[in-house]
Symmetry: C2
Subunit: 234 residues, 2 copies
Amino acid sequence: MAINDLSKDLAPISSNTMADIVEIKLREYLKKKSFRPGDALPKELELAEALGISRNVLREALSRLRMLGMIETKKKRGMILARPDILGSFERVLDPLIIDNNTLQDIFELRLVLEMGLADLLYIRKTDKDVEELENIAKKEAKLDESFRIKSEIAFHGKLYDMTGNDTLKRFQIMLMPIFDYVLTQEKKPIRGKVNHMDLVQILKTGTKEDFKIGMQAHLQPHFDRINKIKTNK
Amino acid sequence: MAINDLSKDLAPISSNTMADIVEIKLREYLKKKSFRPGDALPKELELAEALGISRNVLREALSRLRMLGMIETKKKRGMILARPDILGSFERVLDPLIIDNNTLQDIFELRLVLEMGLADLLYIRKTDKDVEELENIAKKEAKLDESFRIKSEIAFHGKLYDMTGNDTLKRFQIMLMPIFDYVLTQEKKPIRGKVNHMDLVQILKTGTKEDFKIGMQAHLQPHFDRINKIKTNK
DNA sequence: ACATTTGATATGTAGTACATAAATACTAAA
DNA sequence: TTTAGTATTTATGTACTACATATCAAATGT
């Protein structure tokens, strides 16, 4: 545990390059001046001069903010503050091959937590049409051979997130999926809970929120069993 | 809803600037060559030449990857691929003042979902020591006046995430907190559930996982009520 | 009054030059 | 031969200049 007490406790050391510093300074500047999306920013030369740096360094810092979607620029209009896509930056970094194993496991668990917590929102927002569509997905499943099983798995759980009416949550789930899959493929054999998709649909149709929670728990039980097994390894 | 079918369906249009394109190309390059953390990258001049661009543009793209923690550079050693901090980039963008209201609401709900889903992980990992510490937090609470109530609220729920032993989850919660608070302060009066922190501690001590889920639901009920109210507005 | 041209301007890209830090090679002393 | 210290080399970091390009705005012509 204790990821990095060391690096936390004892130093940002030297805030590396100028671009790093300028990036921070720009952030502070935008905050202090309480710019709002759409507001125009000073032009590059003015900023560079004010900061006492070359336009080059400034542009490296601006490039970062631009990537995050915090600013937008047009040829003559100059720069304006924009609304960043909060998940966009996150998405850029989510590559299972780069992330270390501990974090992969963390994210796997994170998705389980989400899945377990969906029920309340789901029961607030679900519609009959939603449930019907979900049922169709589950029905088709029976006819599919194993190779298409994964696709259906994704479709089903994706639809669940869909039904919460929470776009951010939905996107978040989509982004986490590759990692979820990756961790699973590290496992030997596919695991299946005692409650299947069709069962869950039935609960959604006639059961209570509490029923659904219990059902989902049973559905994901194999994953929790696995976590229990490696619990000590952490 | 359908956030933006339009922008999704019909175009990234022109991937704006060179830096944008180079950023993508570099990403593809790193992936295709399946570089691993620690591997050395070609030097700037070589990359720039290979891409047929100025070193300037290249550095703008590199600056982005460096910000995300995907690469690290040292004066003579050159560049190496690094492990990005997956939440670091996310953190940079999480400013309640910039995020639009719909997304704020989404994130608020996201945190509720997390909170509701914690139980399973919690019951796998919690220790007596953890519960004891949690109890201390809840006990102190009684003596505090209203102004310190928020701090304790944070400490209590933070400790819950702590107890899951999932560092990523914990950090995620910390990052989401300002937004959670922000949305709450938009409300008139502070809301309080029928189950308080001390009750939750008692459940953790002697109750089952299911008891805890029910308890947490009751604790958060006011928030869900609020969601139910604005359900139609979406 | 309207359409077209022209100019001004802010960002985008390229290229050169030099500073700086760090690894390597080299030199001189023990 | 070893070791300490110095010089050299090299890749990144920073600065500056020049020009391309797109767009807004004013000037011009019909």
